[in-house]
Homo-oligomer: 603 residues x 2
């Protein structure tokens, strides 16, 4: 991951020199006022602050963040607001001239930003970085004011700059080019929940004032543990770093080195980071045949097949005593054999358990059959193994199974149609036979994620808000913890099998925020206590086969203490299965994916 560490400084006479100084001190970007030195009080268009030729065009683009004039375009004083607008537009014109796709930064001064929003919406080049204090900056001033009353302090503490940003975000219609630059403050450390909520926002960077650094015993500038943790969280969601310092600050080199180390410690490098916040349409392995690439991703999970092996081993031991081990054959049927990982787990389990097994592999994908056939001829030439190129629902077995093993689970448990498939395979199983897995449960919770919301908008599909997506959740805020939604047991020997479901779940809002959608997870009991989980509360360590799901809703600001009520349906008709979801509190809103027109799983 490429992060930048930026040096912010005011009063710069010579930008080229400033960039050199920053680079010499291990910064790769600078931030400074677009108006060199003194802000002229008249917005003359001919103001010769500095020439465009000072830097090359690509340096203006890649090395400089321009801080726009700190003027009040939303002042109630019309003269002042008009003047401020003229100043700001002049700044923007100049920024657009210098940077053909750069970024400008502007600081929010308070809750009223309607005029600013209009200016932002009118500009169509580059990005806007909105500088927001993480807590009310006024609080800091009370340190120096002994006359402040308790009431004043209390009122100041109730001011929440997040709401300034939130109002602006709605006013610019969730424009993806508008991001947050979060300003930390040495006099007021934010609460854990305040930090967590910001992680659901599109954080471009955090501004760290140099005053946050303290000298340690070896005379090095460092951050204390609490700030390290807070900034670490932001780095983890890919926020960049801006160090704000004065011209005569001699610590700047140490700050940069320290931040690069902190980035290194918190940047969460893993091989799947290109999937972060990316919305994918869930696989339909029942309807489509998987390709080798997809099988390979599944197969390299270091945890999942080991747990399957453990579950099969335990089931073999429970089913056949040590005394019977030599003469009793256990029939294992692998439903959906893919390129062999479950069969391999079965053979390993049999070896470890010292039990005799016959393995039937049922697989409907003719290309996977080619690989399986080769494996039988080479790797498994001495095993009692039989391959059937069939859909498990149509398969007539030569004998019944003691153990059915399958991995038909999707990110939401039943969304790859494991209930329907395993119901169809019930006829393959002995009366007292075992299904691995034996149970699966889906979970949901309300999420704030401006990034995912923007990604939904960018699919530009008419049914974007009627789709469930698979995504590696990164920039999110869990508004409340996940709760259990639907449960399926296997084998299901009910007289009348009904795989439709409905449930309404209630969640509580801990802090004002925006509901952007619903997170979906699952866990599954393979056998007895051996389970797999992608529920964030109980996630199986090291397992990456499944990313969570995301069911989008229209963005809606919710208030601390609000109850969020979510209705969720699993619907079935002869040709397909689909989900519908609906927010029913704090306000009742539209039902998503009604009749499965936006997204469904084909039987």
């Amino acid at each position: 991951m490429n992060y930048y560490v930026c040096l912010q400084q005011e009063g710069i006479n010579d930008i080229a020199k400033f960039i050199n100084k920053a680079q010499a001190n291990n910064y790769n970007v600078v931030a400074t006022s677009i108006n060199a030195n003194i802000l002229p009080m008249e917005p003359f268009e001919t103001d010769p602050t500095y020439p465009a030729t000072l830097l090359k065009a690509d340096e203006w683009n890649s090395k400089v963040l321009f801080c726009l004039s700190d003027v009040d375009v939303d002042s109630p004083n019309v003269k002042l607001s008009e003047y401020s607008k003229a100043m700001l537009l002049r700044d923007i014109t100049w920024a657009e001239h210098l940077q053909n796709n750069g970024s400008v930064m502007i600081r929010l001064r308070g809750p009223k930003n309607e005029n600013l929003a209009k200016i932002i919406e009118a500009r169509n080049k580059g990005s806007w970085f909105i500088q927001v204090p993480i807590t009310n900056p006024e609080i800091a001033t009370f340190e120096h004011r002994k006359d402040a009353t308790d009431k004043e302090i209390e009122e100041a503490q109730e001011v929440d700059p997040w709401s300034w940003w939130n109002d602006l975000r709605f006013a610019v219609n969730h424009n993806a080019k508008v991001k947050v630059v979060l300003e930390l403050n040495d006099s007021d450390r934010p609460s854990r929940e305040t930090v967590r909520r910001w992680l659901g926002e599109p954080i471009e960077a955090v501004i760290i004032p140099s005053s946050l650094f303290i000298l340690n015993r070896s005379n090095y500038y460092v951050l204390n543990k609490e700030w390290q943790a807070i900034i670490g969280h932001f780095i983890n969601v890919r926020a960049n770093i801006i160090i704000s310092a004065t011209a005569n600050d001699h610590g700047i080199s140490q700050y940069a080195d320290y931040m690069r180390k902190l980035i290194n410690d918190n940047c969460d490098t893993h091989s799947l980071n290109s999937y972060e916040n990316v919305l994918e349409i869930p696989l339909q392995p029942l309807f489509d045949n998987l390709d080798s690439y997809t099988y390979e991703i599944f197969e390299i999970d270091p945890v999942k097949y080991k747990l399957y092996q453990d579950a099969i081993e335990q089931a073999l031991l429970d089913r056949v005593s040590d005394e019977e081990a030599k003469r009793t054959l256990t029939v294992i049927m692998v439903l959906g054999g893919g390129r062999g990982p479950l069969a391999r787990a079965a053979f390993n389990a049999a070896e470890k358990a010292k039990r005799k097994v016959r393995v039937y592999i049922i697989e409907k994908n003719p290309s996977a059959i080619r690989t399986l056939t080769n494996m039988v001829k080479t790797l498994w030439s001495k095993k009692d193994v039989h391959i059937f190129s069939k859909d498990m629902r149509d398969f007539a077995p030569p004998e019944l199974a003691d153990i059915l093993v399958s991995e038909l689970l999707g990110s939401f448990g039943d969304n790859e149609l494991s209930p329907e498939c395993l119901d169809g395979a019930l006829k393959l199983l002995k009366e007292d036979g075992i299904s691995i897995p034996c149970k699966s449960t889906s979970y949901i919770n309300p999420l704030m994620s401006a990034v995912l919301h923007n990604n939904v908008l960018q699919t530009s599909s008419v049914s974007a808000f009627n789709c469930g997506y698979v995504t590696l959740l990164k920039n999110i805020y869990h508004i409340d913890e996940p709760k259990a939604l639907f449960e399926f047991k296997h084998p299901n020997r009910d007289k009348v099998v009904d795989n439709t479901r409905f449930k309404e779940l209630l969640f509580t809002v801990e802090k004002d925020c925006v509901l952007h959608g619903i997170g979906g997870y699952f866990d599954t009991m393979l056998y007895k206590q051996i389970s797999l989980s992608i529920n964030p509360l109980t996630h199986t360590p090291g397992m990456f086969s499944w990313f969570p799901m995301f069911f989008p809703t229209q963005p809606r600001t919710v208030k601390q203490g609000d109850t969020i009520s979510i209705k969720f349906w699993r619907c079935v008709d002869p040709g397909k299965v689909w989900y519908e979801w609906q927010l029913s509190a704090p306000v009742e809103s539209e039902r998503h994916n009604a009749d499965g027109t936006g997204y469904n799983m084909r039987l």
Copy 2:
């Protein structure tokens, strides 16, 4: 530019080993039959040719080109064609399983490919590389047939495999995922025109049979000069290389090294290659203000401003004799000063000519004015120079100019509205004053370019075929040479100024091909014999400020000897200027951009 050099070989038992051998010999891709070794005569879905696990998924994608079975899906024998289809579909299923976004290669057997086209259209994964012999492969067989009659030979020579490809291309509806792999042949060297025509096609690679190589005196395998030139042309349009050899060929390492050298010699690296075949909407500098990035690209042209300087110098010398040099002041007005390059050229010219000048710089872009103002204060503080922040059409000068200097020319000469601007600036010029440039002429010719056609389709704009684009032409075939279209002279002292134009131009088709659109170019006389040109016949060496234009038409096959007639209009109304174009022979087709609704230049 990243080219690949691929080793093609048949009868491969072990693909992994083959890849290793190829890599050890400096190849980065292999091509081989998707069916290992022997083609089974029944398309069993369980045919265990080799397992998918032989390679990693990304290796299947990036290292292997699969050659599909050479079967005849278009055979008139229904049984054979049905069998062939089953074989081919089996191959495709297997290829799609192994490669989640790879490429399959299939060889055209003759002119009839309707069934193949349907199969290609039905597949939605990966790319198709269509293997086409560059000349009729039958001709080679006559070498060994003494009984062949002159008539037979003549008929064979009339068969043009390009037409097989052309019919297929229309049958698959110009699908951008279908590309050509061109098969060279040691027994028949293609004509120059045959090669040139293929350069207008989407050439993925050329297949070079190892028999094309000859041993030189030092016992090294090389190509003769003619083949070097031919392959060099294909490399120049970014074709990759496939060497076709047998298993016991000991020259493969030398072939690869030789080809890498040939690639290096012909790959045409330049800093602008990311613009190749990219369609850009022309700038509208009169209506929009240019940004620093655009100015910078113009300013770094090593040739253009030198020629402007030469022109100004010559004009100064012609206007003021050596005797008058000390007491006569020449007034130069730079119309559209940008960030100063023309003013700089004027000062340099004055210095070289030893003439006194006063320079007025007129510029309407307030951001450029900032840079100019700074230049006046620093670089030009001792010059007689005056800046005016004005549109030249509204400028009232303190005195009249001896010389007007402007660079308002677009890729098509007048398409950045130089006629309208310079007519508006006529009032600034003395009766006997000079305009630099004094004349500009546009040129057009008919082009074949499947790549540009696909890029037009991919703009997915409703008016895609009613736009003129600026593009660095690369994969094109000039169906005929450019001819002069419209001419504008400056200053234009006509009583009634009319900048509308119409002309019909005739071109001759030298070889069957497809007309995809019209190339647009210009040249301009700066002063006397000093000119700038982007007409391919007279292009100013080293100048890159302007890419040609491309005016698309619907693709149409034209025959050798056909006359192509193109009508072209320049239209003007009070608010805008626009072009219309129409093919009127060999068939009359629709008029593009009627009323300027697709694309126009705002006044």
